[in-house]
C-alpha cells in the first residue's frame, strides 16, 4: 500500500547515493519537483535512466547528482541542445558522466522486460547502426523457431522509479491519462516507486483513456500540485514553453546555471 507522505520525506526514504533512478514522463507529466528535491538533498553518484533526458536531467547532471546516464534522446524538445549534459560529456563538468545509449524502441522494450520479470526483450532494431557497437546491453539473438537474427536488449531494473500523475485516492491508487509514455512499465520494473500527483481525491472518477497503478505496486505518493512544471499535466496545466526557451540561456553558461541552482527553494507540502 502506498502511503501519502511529504515529497522531501519520500525522496530521502527512497533515493540513496549510488542508486539507479528512472524518472519518466514523455514530454508530459515530467516529475520536475521530485528531481529538484533530489538536487536539494544532494544525492550523488546516481545512475539516471530516462528515454528523453531533457531539461530535468540537464538540471540533475549540472548539479552533480549523476555518475552515469542511460538514455535514448537527450535534447531540449523544440529548442535545441542540453548544455549541462554536453558539458558533462565533452568536458567532465561538474563530474564526468558515463553514458549508455539506446534508441527509443530499445529503451521502451528494456522497461517492458523489467516490468515482465524477464532478463531481456526482443525487437527488430539497431541492426547496422553504430549504437550496437558501443552499447553492451544490445546483442544479436537467434529466433529458436525461425532461425532469424533479431536484437536482444537487457531488461532495465531501476532501484527507484519516479513519475508524476494527475490523481491519487487516499489509499494511494494512482490515475493518469493523456500521453502516458512508459511510466507504467518504469514503475513495474523498479524495486521502489514514488508518484507525485496534482490532486489527492476521495474517489478516482473513471476516465476512458486512464492508466491505473494500484496502490500495492506504488511505494510512496506525494501530493505536489504543479510538480510537472515546466512540463504539463493534461487537464491541469499547460506546458510553460517560455521556460524551455529560457533554459537554453540559463544552461549554456556555468555561472548562469549556478545562479539558477541557488534559486531552488525548499518544498512545502
Amino acid at each position: 500500500m502506498a502511503s501519502i507522505v511529504p515529497l522531501a520525506d519520500a525522496v530521502s526514504e527512497l533515493v540513496h547515493d549510488g542508486d539507479t533512478v528512472a524518472m519518466e514522463g514523455f514530454t508530459h507529466l515530467i516529475p520536475f519537483a521530485a528531481g529538484h528535491e533530489i538536487i536539494r538533498q544532494g544525492r550523488r553518484n546516481l545512475t539516471l535512466v530516462r528515454m528523453t533526458p531533457d531539461v530535468i536531467y540537464d538540471q540533475l547532471i549540472g548539479a552533480g547528482c549523476a555518475r552515469r546516464l542511460v538514455f535514448s534522446w537527450g535534447g531540449n524538445p523544440g529548442v535545441g541542445s542540453l548544455h549541462r549534459f554536453r558539458d558533462a560529456v565533452q568536458n567532465g563538468w561538474p563530474v564526468p558522466l558515463e553514458i549508455e545509449e539506446h534508441s527509443h524502441a530499445g529503451m521502451a522494450n528494456r522497461y517492458v522486460a523489467g516490468a515482465a520479470g524477464l532478463p531481456f526483450a526482443v525487437l527488430r532494431g539497431y541492426v547496422g547502426t553504430d549504437l550496437a557497437r558501443h552499447t553492451p546491453t544490445v546483442k544479436p539473438i537467434t529466433c529458436p523457431f525461425t532461425g532469424e537474427t533479431l536484437t536482444a536488449v537487457a531488461a532495465l531494473r531501476p532501484d527507484v522509479a519516479i513519475i508524476h500523475a494527475q490523481r491519487a485516492d487516499r489509499a494511494g491508487n494512482v490515475q493518469m491519462w493523456g500521453i502516458t509514455g512508459v511510466q507504467k512499465e518504469a514503475v513495474l520494473a523498479a524495486s521502489r516507486s514514488l508518484v507525485t500527483v496534482e490532486e489527492v481525491v476521495d474517489e478516482l472518477e473513471p476516465r476512458p483513456d486512464q492508466v491505473i497503478l494500484p496502490s500495492w505496486v506504488v511505494t510512496r505518493v506525494a501530493h505536489v500540485p504543479g510538480g510537472a512544471h515546466p512540463s504539463y499535466a493534461h487537464g491541469y496545466s499547460e506546458r510553460d514553453n517560455d521556460f524551455y526557451v529560457r533554459w537554453d540561456a540559463i544552461s549554456r553558461d556555468r555561472e548562469e546555471f549556478a545562479r539558477w541552482l541557488a534559486t531552488l527553494q525548499p518544498t512545502r507540502s
Binding site: 538514455f71 527488430r124 539497431y126 493523456g178
Partner: protein, 251 residues
Amino acid sequence: MVGDFTADEIMTVAAARALRDGQTCFVGIGLPSTAANLARATHAPNLVLIYESGTIGAKPDRLPLSIGDGILARTADAVVSVPEVFNYWLQPGRVDVGFLGAAQVDRYGNINTTVVGDDYRRPKVRLPGAGGAPEIAASARRGIIMVRHSRRTLVERVDFVTSVGFGRGPGDRQRLGLSGAGPQMLITDLGILEPDPDTCELTLTHLHPNATLDQVREATGWPLKVAPNLAETPPPTAAELATLRKLERTR
C-alpha cells in the same frame, strides 16, 4: 526572402507534396512535423499522423511544440503507450512514410544524430542521440529526410551511423534484414535528392526555384551526381504559402 518565398518555405512545401492523402506517416518534430501538418491542411486531409509519444491519428490545428504536445493527445484517434507505438505500429510495417531530420546525412542516406567527430567517447560535439529514428529508418515502408543543405550536414560519410539508409550501397538493407525501402527522398532548402536505382547514391533530381546547380554542388560534401532529367520544383502555390504561414504563426 528569395522571390516571394523563403528557402525554408519551398523546402517545407516540397516535403508536404511528397506525402499522399490517406498515407500513415511517422513524424519527427521540427521541419518534418511542419511539412506533415501542411500536407494535412492542404492536399492530404486524411493523412494519418503518428508521433512517437503514442498519439496515432493526431489532428492538430496548430503546430505542436513537441512530439508530446497535449493537442496531439486531445485530437488523436488513439493514444497508446510508447512501447506499443514502436512494437505494434512501427515494427510490423504499418507505417507508410517515416519522416526524419538529421545533423549529418551521407551520400547513401545514412543519418547521424549522435556525435560529431571520430571518437564516440570523446566527441567534438555531442548531439541529442537516436530517439525513435533508427527503427523508423529501418521499418517505415519509405523514408523521407529533411535537412538544410550545407557541407556540414551533407557529408561523404557520417561520423556515426545512428540510423541506416543504404549502408555502404546496393544490397546492404536486404543483408541487414531491414524491412522498409530506405530513404526515397532527401529534401533540402535547395532541391530534392533521390537514390539512384542502381547505385543507391543520393542524386539531385529537382532543383528548387531560386537555387542554382553550382550552389547545390558547393553545399554538398561529396561529388554530387545530377539526374539526366533534372527538373525544377514547381514554386509554392498561393494556397500552399498562405496555409504554411498561417500554421507557422500558431507556434
